[in-house]
């Protein structure tokens, strides 16, 4: 029954699209097979940069996010400046659209003309994404840490662990297990937002597709780029579903 209704609904949708007045035009500009084949190697080449950037930024975000979360939950009075700084960091970075963060870092840092500062737009874009996503991921970690019952901390201290050991061996392992699905969700977002570094100029997939498209008003390269993003984000989403199911069992 579900199969039948799926076929009917999808058939109707396709029917509406392909019988529309503009369809022949759309097919020619967005879904031209020859254009697809022509542009695909260049777009794929650009996408490789996205993948590399994504992997490096993700690793950096996992570390920086954890540092921010630990700073926010610290208790020692002497660490107040650190708590304040991390709270402000999270508020500011979460409050600004990611595209603006990329602009501000990408064009602002080189404009300072400080020696030793990176000028490569890929590096700057990576830094911007790392900062923006660390703010989100830091909050995810913090929620996980705060969800671990205080009695766990009491038990860990009671067996003689230090505060740091309690966090490392008892609180964090439980916290990270709990927030793995929301963390993965943020990484699906990040994988797409890597395209934002294109505004700084590097030839990643979206940028390449855009250049190809604007040279002859053919948008098929953009569709090729979209497919490549889906190749990464859909498996990630399925992995996430799989995790959630296993957790519920």
């Amino acid at each position: 029954m579900s199969a039948v209704s799926t076929v009917v609904v999808l058939g109707l949708l396709v029917g509406v699209v392909v019988t529309s007045e503009g369809w022949p035009n759309v097919r020619e500009t967005f879904f031209d097979w020859d254009d697809f084949v022509d542009s695909f190697p260049a777009v794929l080449d650009g996408f490789w940069l996205d993948v590399k950037l994504f992997v490096i930024v993700e690793a950096a975000v996992l570390v920086l996010g954890l540092v921010i979360a630990l700073a926010r939950i610290s208790r020692a009075p002497a660490l107040f400046p650190l708590r304040l700084l991390s709270a402000v960091f999270v508020d500011v970075l979460r409050g600004i659209p990611t595209i603006l963060v990329v602009y501000l870092i990408g064009f602002g840092i080189p404009a300072l003309m400080l020696s030793g500062m990176p000028t490569d737009p890929v590096v700057l874009g990576g830094i911007a994404l790392t900062l923006a996503y660390s703010a989100y991921v830091g909050e995810v970690y913090r929620a996980g840490i705060e969800s671990v019952h205080p009695s766990q901390r009491a038990a860990a201290l009671a067996v003689g662990l230090t505060e740091a050991q309690t966090t490392r061996f008892v609180v964090l392992p439980q916290a990270i297990r709990r927030v793995a699905p929301p963390l993965l969700n943020d990484f699906i977002s990040l994988q797409k937002d890597v395209a934002l570094v294109s505004i700084l100029g590097p030839l990643e997939a979206f940028r390449v597709a855009q250049i190809e498209a604007s040279s002859n008003f053919i948008y098929t390269p953009l569709v090729a780029a979209a497919l490549l993003y889906l190749c990464v984000t859909v498996p990630l989403a399925r992995l996430l579903d799989h995790w959630e199911r296993r957790r519920r069992r």
Partner: protein, 248 residues
């Protein structure tokens, strides 16, 4: 002879609400002292204060004659010399039974992996948990979890054991197996301070019973005397209520 554990005029309040109002208490080596009293009388707080999980407001806690509630004393070093067992077990759910028992010897005391594992397996086997070493806590019954928790508290070879209502969260049919373990520890000469609701058990195991009422120890003495001839009207009322509830 100095007591292993001693409290002198310990007071503790949560905000404006006094919980402990001047507790004097001593537990001699190899002795078991039971603290009885209604829920909310301060039994748990008393044990948490001794293990330095709560800061006291005034008075002193002494371990082997040395004050441990002084700000200059490292609380971690003190906790490493005490063992605590909680009402709700508080096992680490992400670790197996064996890993729960090995964590403190390995990390807090720097024991070698093999030595820690051998000792942990011995403790678990001694409490009837041979074969369950690799189970996570959620696969164990309440009684088994509490026995793992007792093994975990003993793994660091503490000077004294603090037992906080260790059978209160258990189904009635599982209480016996945990009490048997405590009885065995007593026979081995473990120094213990036991907060409990199990009056017959307190009567059997304890060398001294203290009745805690609204943050004060109102009456103390040999178990036989406290349970058969209590002097204070509050103690009489508390025991009568337990008797009526069929808990004595």
């Amino acid at each position: 002879m100095t007591a292993v554990l001693e409290l002198r005029g310990v007071t503790k309040a949560y905000g404006d609400r006094p919980v402990l109002r001047g507790i004097d208490l001593a537990v001699a080596e190899h002795a078991a002292v039971a603290v009885i009293g209604a829920s909310g009388s301060g039994k748990s707080t008393l044990l948490r204060c001794i293990d330095l999980l709560e800061e006291i407001d005034d008075g002193d806690v002494l371990l082997d004659g040395a004050v441990v509630t002084d700000p200059s004393v490292d609380p971690v070093a003190v906790r490493r010399r005490l063992g605590m067992v909680f009402q709700a077990f508080n096992l680490f759910p992400h670790l197996t039974a064996l890993q729960n028992v090995m964590l403190a010897p390995r990390r807090a005391h720097g024991a070698a992996r093999d030595a820690a594992e051998t000792h942990a397996r011995e403790l678990l086997a001694r409490f009837g948990l041979a074969g369950r070493e690799d189970e996570h806590p959620d696969r164990l019954s309440g009684g088994q979890q509490q026995r793992v928790a007792i093994a975990r508290a003993l793994a660091t070879r503490p000077r004294a054991l603090l037992l906080d209502e260790v059978t209160s969260a258990l189904d009635p049919e599982l209480v016996g197996e945990v009490l048997a373990v405590v009885r065995e520890l007593k026979a081995d000469g473990m120094t213990m301070l036991i907060a409990t609701h199990e009056m017959s058990f307190a009567r059997e195991v304890a060398d001294e019973v203290c009745f805690l009422h609204e943050g004060l120890i109102l009456e103390r003495g040999a178990p036989e005397r406290i349970f058969t001839a209590p002097e204070r009207p509050e103690t009489q009322r508390f025991l009568r209520r337990l008797l009526e509830a069929g808990r004595l």
